[in-house]
């Protein structure tokens, strides 16, 4: 997008150059003039001009104007220091303080409080008010995470506007009127929503305080450490508040190209996991059935010995929170030192594993080719492209759960610009409300839907589907055309997406694809070689087994050693508990983990893992932005940097990496990943850099190099042996079969280790629930809260019924990542039987 033209205005007699259309408050900053504000916060959308703090005098306008809502024009003459302005501003401060308790010494905001700053800078210095102040009950919990002190509130409405216009949950509202107005919720219920922690940071006074941070530190006691949150693929930029070498709080570090300055509650409160007293802080070796502490040398030697013995019968699973460096070194050990091709980083593996019944695995060749095509730089959309796209398609994922910050970004595009949103998912998405069109396909049938969509969009080689599927695809296609489109998608099954991309001309500016990977650093790990089908830089390598292949091979004994780097497959991977059995059979399990979990219980050697707050390295955002992780706190106990440990392990196994520092590790990656060539920590800097925007992006592998076949895409990608849904088959016929529904799964935002390990978040830990359409629930004689058993092919999961209106009849949904076998049921037709009455 071209930058807006710059104009010149006169602020207090000084010429100031500013972008045309900027608000006066922002424009004045270009001339180093600060205009005080309370209610103005550009992140919240349109200014409301409510606090009246920012009034200024503008030549030619008799009344004072609010600078927060006045766009600058060329030649505007503005005065911010006249007597009139000063009087008005000091009057506003005086008015605000009439009811403000001035309990700064006990207030958490003291020292970093905009009201303090403005009162000092622009206030009258003393109050003339002697009347009693407004009283409310002192801090009461607004939610388990936030306390509200209404006496301190200056009614700037930022929090309420956040709830209404950013998160759009509308739970937080203004109640009563006039000077009795207060911020509250319906019927004094708690305000619990995935992003609500942001209101703490938005509050310009100490009215909203974090329960976890309350009274922990003062601004002058702390140090800030900027890094990146690796709890999900959003990779939001954060600032750790560190006191006495402990993280006390996490704040957003605005990066408009990544997070727009927002954080989800997982990112905001999940730091407690790093500070948990339960962490493993030294290497452990299993002896006599028990894990016992050991020195690093001993542990490394034990690990090396075991791996040496297993040799090429070793597999590595690299978890999503690993940095690029961890992933690169792990795959290098397995591939080069041990000669094994089995490296995997995707919990769901390749296409096809989503259902045992609907088909087998696809050929690896497609996978690599599909990756190369779909991740190509020309098709890549950046997060900021969502701010420009005329239409947005959300396909196969609910960003709230998979990449929360995108949810806010998409809402913003719809609300502020009227972007057309289309949602095509199996499970109802929270974005449905703002969508122009929504389509529901049966769980596991995304491929059929995408092919039908490609046909409707006019892609060559796809046949239009009939019936409901065709009609759905037509509606979605209608919402996307014309104009630039960004497709946010997820899922292992990308058939047809290439066709959609071509038909929608996604290679053009402001359009493109954003794939939401399953792991936080899914894209980075893939690009540094943590895939069974591709090496670093998506290079052609000997084909290895994918996740479920590895599990089967471990179980069958054809693989003997497993290297689990920041991965707990028992909890996180499809198959779940089946991994426990598989790992139990392995001769050596080397786990790198922060905590003792289901997988470390099967481990022979455990290396303590770093938390993201201690890590140094890089990660790659789903849109290709490389970002730096910078250590904010020292490593606890005997924890060591993982790149160092892996480099030493490699050396013990005869693979000299020459990596002696984190920059070395990045240099090693850059030397092997052609499209990262030459990248360094300095170049990545504080806000990251998209590799697609660097010259080296031209080294992205060409599609022909990976052996594209001549057939039309719609056919070529058809996985062998798979019974693809016939055109016209909605896949949703299951409701006709009595008592049987097709199950889909989703990874709930809170179904994660961080929820269990952070005391503040623990109350959010989900319980397994089977979401059903009201019609199916009635047909099955089930009500909300009933305990049921969900069964298929000998796999069974217990769940509580939860009825949702927008679930497509015939579908049901379970949560993945709770350590049960729910993920194995994905795409299955299941039987449901009642196991208990509601509590």
């Amino acid at each position: 997008m071209p930058d807006p033209p710059r104009i010149t205005l006169l602020v207090d007699g000084v010429e100031v150059e500013a972008p045309h259309g900027a608000m006066l408050v922002d424009a004045a900053k270009h001339g180093d003039v600060e205009i005080p504000v309370f209610c103005y916060e550009p992140k919240l959308g349109h200014p409301v001009g409510a606090c009246r703090m920012c009034v200024v005098e503008i030549e030619g306008i008799p009344k004072l104007q609010t600078a927060c809502s006045t766009p600058v024009r060329d030649g505007m003459v503005v005065y911010t220091q006249t007597e009139r302005v000063k009087e008005a501003q000091s009057a506003v401060v005086e008015f605000l303080l009439v009811n403000h308790p001035l309990d700064c010494p006990v207030c958490d905001k003291g020292g970093e409080c905009p009201l303090q700053d403005v009162a000092m800078g622009w206030g009258p210095g003393r109050s003339r008010s002697v009347d009693p102040k407004r009283h409310f009950q002192k801090p009461i919990p607004l939610s388990p995470l936030i306390k509200i002190d209404r006496e301190r509130c200056i009614l700037c409405y930022r929090c309420v506007r956040f709830s209404q216009e950013v998160a759009e949950d509308e739970q937080l509202q203004l109640l009563e009127r006039g000077s009795s107005t207060f911020v509250g919720t319906f019927d004094n219920r708690p305000y619990i929503a995935p992003f609500h922690g942001n209101i703490i940071e938005l509050c310009p006074v100490g009215a909203l305080t974090s329960d976890a941070y309350r009274f922990r530190a003062r601004p002058w006691d702390i140090e800030d450490a900027g890094t990146v949150c690796t709890l999900c693929p959003s990779q939001c930029n954060i600032k750790l508040t560190v006191r006495d070498e402990r993280i006390e709080r996490v704040l957003a570090r605005d990066n408009v190209d990544v997070d727009d300055g927002w954080l989800c509650d997982k990112g905001r409160f999940g730091y407690q996991m790093a500070e948990s007293g339960q962490r493993i802080t030294e290497p452990l070796i299993r002896a006599g059935g028990e894990l016992r502490p050991a020195g690093w040398a001993e542990a490394l030697e034990a690990a090396a010995a075991g791996l040496r013995e297993a040799g090429e019968r070793t597999a590595a699973i690299v978890g999503g929170s690993s940095s690029n460096e961890d992933g690169y070194l792990a795959q290098r050990i397995v591939r080069k030192a041990l000669g094994s091709p089995h490296v995997e980083s995707r919990p769901s593996g390749g296409p096809g594993v989503e259902s045992r019944r609907t088909g087998g695995r696809g050929p690896a060749g497609f996978l690599r080719q599909g990756l190369v095509e779909l991740s190509a730089p020309r098709l890549a959309a950046s997060v900021s492209d969502l701010d420009r796209a005329e239409s947005i398609l959300v396909l196969g994922t609910d960003p709230l759960h998979s990449m929360p910050i995108l949810d806010l970004r998409i809402r913003k595009a719809v609300r502020l610009r009227g972007a057309r949103l289309a949602v095509a998912t199996d499970r109802p998405s929270v974005l449905d409300g703002g969508a122009e069109e929504t389509a529901r396909y049966a769980p596991g049938f995304v491929g059929g839907f995408v092919s039908a969509l490609a046909a409707e969009l006019g892609a060559a080689g796809y046949e239009r589907a009939r019936g409901e599927l065709g009609a759905d695809a037509e509606r979605i296609a209608g919402a996307l055309k014309p104009g630039s489109t960004v497709i946010v998608w997820a899922g292992p099954d990308a058939r047809g997406l290439v066709g959609c991309a071509r038909a929608l001309r996604l290679e053009e500016d402001g359009a493109g694809l954003i794939e939401v990977p399953e792991g936080a650093n899914g894209r980075g790990l893939r690009e540094v070689g943590c895939l069974p089908v591709a090496g670093p830089g998506l290079s052609d390598v000997e084909q290895g087994l994918d996740a479920s292949g590895i599990r089967d091979a471990l179980e069958a004994g054809s693989l003997e050693a497993a290297l689990l780097v920041n991965a707990d497959p028992i909890r996180d991977f499809a198959g779940g508990p089946a991994w426990g059995e598989a790992l139990g059979k392995a001769k050596l399990v080397l786990a790198v983990s922060m905590f003792e979990d289901a997988s470390t219980r099967q481990a022979d050697v455990v290396f303590p893992a770093e938390s993201y707050a201690e890590k140094e390295g890089t990660v790659t955002h789903p849109d290709g932005r490389l970002q730096r992780l910078r250590p904010g706190t020292p490593h606890p106990g005997g924890v060591r940097p993982m790149w160092e440990v892996l480099a030493e392990l490699g050396a013990l196994l005869g693979e000299e990496t020459g990596v002696e520092s984190a920059p070395d590790a990045l240099a090693a990656i850059a030397s092997e990943v052609p499209f990262y060539a030459g990248i360094s920590h300095e170049e990545i800097g504080g806000t990251g850099i998209r590799w697609q925007e660097r010259a080296a992006a031209r080294y992205w592998p060409r599609v022909d190099d990976v052996g594209a076949r001549d057939e039309v895409p719609g056919r070529e990608v058809e996985p062998a042996g798979r019974t693809a849904p016939e055109p016209g088959d909605t896949g949703g016929r299951a409701e006709d079969v009595d008592g049987v529904i097709r199950v889909g799964t989703y990874r709930d935002l809170w179904a994660a280790e961080v929820t269990d390990r952070s005391p503040a978040l623990r109350f959010l830990a989900p319980r397994q629930a089977l979401e059903l359409a009201p019609r199916d629930a009635a047909r099955l004689g089930l009500g909300s809260g009933h305990e049921v058993e969900v069964r298929s092919n000998g796999t069974s999961v217990r769940a509580r019924v939860s009825i949702h209106e927008r679930v497509k009849p015939g579908s049901g949904f379970l949560i993945e990542g709770l350590g049960d076998r729910a993920a194995s049921l994905r795409g299955e037709l299941v039987e449901i039987s009642k196991a208990g009455e509601p509590e």
């Binding site: 309990d103 700064c104 010494p105 006990v106 002192k138 309350r214 009274f215 922990r216 003062r218």
Partner: protein, 193 residues
């Protein structure tokens, strides 16, 4: 500045020091002629004045203070070891753990960790109290800024100066030590002393 004022001030200067610019001038002050009483005074006057002080002190007796048996008295505003205070009526601690003293401290010797009061069992009057309040007296420079910064007069500088110890760790005074009623061992100087 206007010219007339300029010239008049110049004129004043020149009348007082007529040789200011042109010549170096050595001024010699002559005393009375030597000899006689004047001469004797000039020779011994200062000595006698000195001896007067000496004899006066002899009469006064010894001024040595037998420290540590005796203490040096201090002025009322002497800044000695800190004290934390409680409200006399309720017994609650005045300190609310706001850390302003720590912020003001140039030696960085105060550490405050705050916590939330339980309204049923209060430590301080407000919502917040100091769970940990430590002053590292080995680092303290006794500047008194903490006292000035305190919004609740919870910390004041006392008169005690006998803080020496054998172990640096023992010089970190905890909240309990600072709150304890100190033994008033330091005498105050009286008015005019």
């Amino acid at each position: 500045m206007n010219n007339s004022a300029d010239s008049s001030s110049e004129a004043e200067v020149s009348s007082e020091f007529p040789y200011l610019e042109d010549e170096s001038v050595v001024a010699v002050q002559r005393g009375p002629e030597p000899g006689g009483l004047g001469g004797a005074y000039r020779a011994f006057g200062e000595t006698l004045r000195g001896l007067k002080t000496t004899f006066a002190r002899i009469v006064e007796g010894p001024v040595t203070i037998q420290y540590p048996e005796e203490k040096t008295p201090v002025y009322p505003r002497f800044r000695g070891r800190h004290k934390l205070h409680r409200f006399e009526d309720t017994g609650l601690e005045k300190c609310v753990g706001c850390s302003l003293c720590a912020a003001a401290c140039p030696a960085d010797c105060i550490r405050v960790v705050a916590a939330e009061n339980d309204p049923e069992d209060r430590v301080s009057a407000g919502e917040r109290y100091a769970e940990i309040y430590e002053i590292n007296l080995a680092r303290c420079i006794f500047c008194g800024y903490c006292e000035v910064a305190c919004p609740f007069d919870a910390i004041t500088m006392g008169h005690e100066y006998e803080i020496a110890d054998y172990n640096r760790d023992d010089l970190i005074f905890t909240k309990e030590m600072l709150l304890a009623e100190p033994l008033e061992r330091t005498p105050l100087r009286r008015e005019g002393e």
